[in-house]
């Protein structure tokens, strides 16, 4: 299948002039689970926010983001969401006075077929105990993340960017969350999953490795995990040999 999301030579420089993304090229094919790996500070969340149009990252410094055949640079977050592109933030917000049920209903407002209770059950939360809880500080970090995942299932977007949705979730078996991703994919949601967990990366159809603001390699997840472990984990922030390799490739 063709690419649902195409990121072309994407650069992002902060106002202070710090280069965070240095020409990212990435294709996410329709119907795949695509995992994005990379060390802390590589620029994964920055890329995710640019793709979604969130966090003040609506407009890249350079390059193009194409979703469903349309250039979406500069489009506000909610318009992208209406086109079927959404994001689950690394730290989703909490809300006073909004129940889980209301939150999921808001997420499902353009998906009349959504079954809120079944989405909750799928993320391991019993609707009897959670529907009337507030999405506020009383939820644990893991519960909040599970609810975010349920909200994405209720929304059923074409593409969901999940920024470390698995962190803080103590799924009894990590296979559970992997299976959940597969279910979402099979029900029509393409996933771009940012994670540090190898087991999650293992269930992906393809993976990419982001290092120092550039995609170093895309391909078979097992191969990418190996590269990540062998080269990135050695140096947590930047791997000089990798950076050199990237420079060679670019020249």
């Amino acid at each position: 299948m063709g690419a649902l999301l195409e990121v072309r030579n994407l650069k992002y420089r902060t106002e202070e002039g710090k280069e965070i993304l240095k020409g990212v090229n990435l294709d996410v094919k329709e119907g795949e689970i695509h995992v994005l790996l990379g060390p802390n500070g590589a620029g994964k969340s920055t890329l995710a926010n640019l793709i979604a149009g969130a966090g003040g990252y609506e407009e890249p410094t350079e390059g193009e983001i194409i979703f469903d055949g349309k250039v979406i640079n500069g489009k506000p977050l909610y318009e992208r969401a209406k086109m079927g592109l959404t994001i689950a933030f690394q730290e989703p917000a909490r809300f006073e006075g909004i129940t889980v049920e209301e939150y999921l209903k808001l997420s499902a407002r353009n998906n009349p077929d959504a079954d809120i209770e079944s989405c909750l059950r799928k993320v391991g939360l019993d609707p009897c105990h959670y529907l009337y809880r507030f999405v506020d500080d009383s939820l644990s970090g893991g519960e909040r993340k599970r609810i975010e995942l349920a909200s994405i299932m209720c929304m059923k977007p074409k593409l969901a960017v999940l920024d470390e949705i698995d962190s803080g979730i103590d799924f009894v078996s990590i296979d559970e969350i992997g299976n959940l991703f597969k279910t979402m994919r099979d029900e029509g949601t393409t996933l771009l999953v940012i994670t540090h967990r190898e087991n999650i990366a293992n269930i992906a159809d393809r993976a990419s490795l982001l290092c120092d603001g550039q995609i170093v390699e895309t391909g078979d997840p097992r191969k990418i995990i190996k590269k990540f472990e062998k080269e990135c984990l050695v140096c947590e922030v930047q791997n000089p040999s990798l950076v050199k390799e990237v420079k060679v490739q670019n020249n």
Binding site: A52, A54, G55, P76, L77, Y78, A81, K82, T86, I87, A88, F89, E91, P92, A93, R94, F95, E96, G97, I98, L106, S107, R109, N110, S151, M155
Partner: protein
């Protein structure tokens, strides 16, 4: 008993429905239009005396020790056809171990010009439990100058919860002052939810005095200030007794322009084992909250409305 269906009662019920209180005339125990009593129904377990005065009423309510009233008591204090100078004095005395939940509704009808004072004193006996909900409807066309004072005295082990809600059309010039003296192992929780719109001037003042060992106090305020509104919060906690605790939590949120917000915390500890904390935020709605909702396809305005409605709930 035949219900007195004075049209003003029906109008009051209509206002309550507008502010989301789903109540019927037969649920009301008392309805007064300034100083004109339109309805009074005896409630088992409650002794209540009401004296109309030139500018309002004086009400004294007593709940005997051990009496538990297991359904909410609803009282309406309206300005439906009478405005002007208005003084509403109430005293509530709750005996040891008694329990009650009271709703008081302040209903201000269209076109009223009003200078109103609600002066309420609550005395809560040992281990008694009182919940007091004060919900307002202020018609947009009314000219309102309102002062609401609530003094609560909690005996040992007593529990008091108060919610003040002025969240519908307008607040007017509205000042509320809570003063609580919290005895040993007693708990006082006061919440204020206010919406200030153009031309409104809202002041919320909470004073918690922790006078008994292990007394607990929580003051929580949520104030939404729209274009051209003024809002001020003053939170004072006095930790006078050993191991007493008080937390003041105030969020004032701006939506629009030309808004003036003030937040003044005062924490005074005279006992080294007392713990007083204060948490305040002033400013726009949290961007992260808006974005989390906008990622679901809500526009910024829709997301703002959801966050605001949630805070004022």
């Amino acid at each position: 008993m035949k219900l007195n269906l004075d049209s003003r009662i029906l109008q009051g019920i209509d206002f309550l429905h507008k502010v989301g209180v789903n109540i019927q005339p037969q649920d009301l125990a008392f309805f007064v239009d300034k100083n004109e009593i339109l309805h009074k129904k005896p409630v088992q377990g409650i002794k209540s005396e009401v004296i109309p005065t030139e500018f309002g009423i004086k009400m004294r309510t007593v709940i005997e020790p051990g009496v538990k009233i297991d359904y909410p008591v609803a009282l309406c204090f309206g300005n439906i056809s009478h405005g002007g100078e208005h003084i509403n004095e109430q005293e509530l005395i709750v005996g040891e171990g008694a329990e009650v939940k009271i709703y008081t509704f302040a209903l201000i009808g269209p076109g009223q010009t009003l200078h109103r004072k609600d002066l309420v004193t609550v005395r809560i006996g040992k281990n008694a439990k009182v919940e007091l909900y004060d919900i307002h409807y202020h018609d947009r066309s009314a000219d309102i100058n309102f002062y609401a004072e609530l003094n609560a005295y909690l005996d040992e082990g007593a529990y008091f919860y108060n919610l003040l809600k002025v969240t519908d059309q307008k607040s007017g010039k509205f000042r509320t002052k809570f003063y609580g003296e919290v005895g040993p192992r007693a708990v006082a929780v006061v919440e204020a939810k206010m919406k200030a719109t153009e031309g409104d001037d809202v002041v919320v003042e909470d004073i918690m005095k922790l006078v008994g060992e292990e007394a607990r106090g929580l003051s929580k305020s949520r104030i939404i200030a729209l274009d051209g509104a003024k809002a001020e919060f003053i939170g004072e906690a006095y930790g006078e007794a050993p191991n007493s605790r008080c937390h003041i939590d105030c969020a004032e949120v701006v939506k629009g322009e030309n808004v003036v917000l003030k937040n003044i915390p005062v924490l005074v500890s005279t006992n080294e084992t007392a713990k007083l904390t204060h948490e305040a935020s002033i400013g726009k709605i949290d961007k992260k909250q808006l974005e989390t909702l906008m990622a679901k396809g809500l526009t910024e305005d829709e997301a703002t409305e959801v966050v605001v409605q949630g805070m004022l709930r």
